[in-house]
Subunit: 219 residues, 2 copies
């Protein structure tokens, strides 16, 4: 298993140390803390939105909403979103030119019944957005560390809609501009649980090793 | 806006009728009902698992688990998963060579506290799996229509883990083998809400049309 924290410090790549076969877009996606302050062209932001838009969802409900703020287009709006971030995230995310709050509608539009896939499907939309960002040369860092109540109040998010995550969006920046502590986290190898811990064959706890042979990769 | 239900009926493509700039992998992903019964090589299934594995998650919790069954490797296990599908899905999903149940662990491993991103992050993992499937020439159709209690019982899914979605995985099949009703749904244009309905600029209800210009695409 190689952990390729190579490349220049600006635009640090941290490809997943995964077996051959993983698509480049998925391999190259990661969540940096070092963002360039460079503005993001509107057409690229639109392509990110479009990628989210075409995600699948239960009954095609599309329960996701985004509140987005571009520092260059609306500094006050950007400051509003920034102020909802936890301090530990604000120090690095506040350099990204675009911030977002991801919101899930909790009930089905058609009948008001609870949508138990609201968060699940919203996650799918943001996953597509984050991969499209890689295609556009951008990076997305999602954060659970924001004040959802404050975001709701400051942004006017209505009842029935849940602020789920915050987003920082921008071009990769120079990791050397991070604090020593953040730099260490930026350079740390990426880690995941071995697939064998969470892929089950045919029943919970069943080995996922059918006749076709070959163990689940644990790289 | 073009709705390209073209190509041959076997391996029907339904690319998202989206603006230029959307990455091919995202554009080509869709959820067909026509699956070929052809077996899926284990290496490709492993690449799907690997794509899920490298998804981001809050605190790197990786709350997702999958129960997978390959009809050719374990017909009994496959039948168990198949029996948890709603009848309306079983008629087409039961032709796919691989079925899965997606499961989310609801509490953080480190301290047992509720993980409010459990479903959100699990959705991200499956979104990456579904896009890797496109790269592998496969398709994934996710289903909310399964009996979660039955899946829990038949598969032995423990308390604290929630069965969220079912998956059908396989090569694209011949849509002409579907019932007339399913064929009509298979051929229907793909639709999504205009981004202008759910992308908000800087606050809820704010127009997402900053200075950089250009309206959000509604194609």
């Amino acid at each position: 298993m190689s952990t390729a924290n190579t490349e220049t410090m600006a635009g640090l790549r941290k490809p997943a140390p995964a077996d051959a076969g993983l698509h480049e877009l998925i391999r190259e996606r990661w969540s940096p803390r070092a963002f360039s302050g460079a503005p993001v062209p509107r057409a690229l932001l639109d392509s990110l939105v479009e990628a989210a838009r075409w995600a699948p969802s239960c009954m095609n409900e599309q329960p996701w909403s985004f509140v987005l703020a571009d520092r260059y287009a609306d500094p006050e709006g950007y400051a509003r979103l920034e102020s909802a971030l936890m301090e530990g995230n604000r120090v690095w995310a506040g350099r990204a030119p675009v911030l977002g709050i991801v919101v899930a509608r909790l009930a089905f539009t058609r009948d008001g019944a609870p949508n138990r896939w609201a968060l699940y499907d919203t996650g799918q939309a943001v996953a597509q957005l984050a991969l499209q960002a890689v295609a556009a040369g951008l990076r997305v860092h999602q954060m659970g560390g924001f004040d959802a109540d404050k975001a709701r109040r400051l942004l006017g998010i209505p009842e029935g809609y849940e602020p789920v995550a915050a987003l920082a969006v921008g071009y990769p920046g120079d990791a050397r501009e991070l604090s020593p502590e953040l730099l260490a986290r930026e350079l740390a190898p990426r880690q995941r649980r071995p697939a064998g811990e969470w892929v089950h064959g045919s029943r919970w706890g069943g080995a996922w090793a059918p006749a076709a042979g070959g163990a689940v990769s644990e790289t």
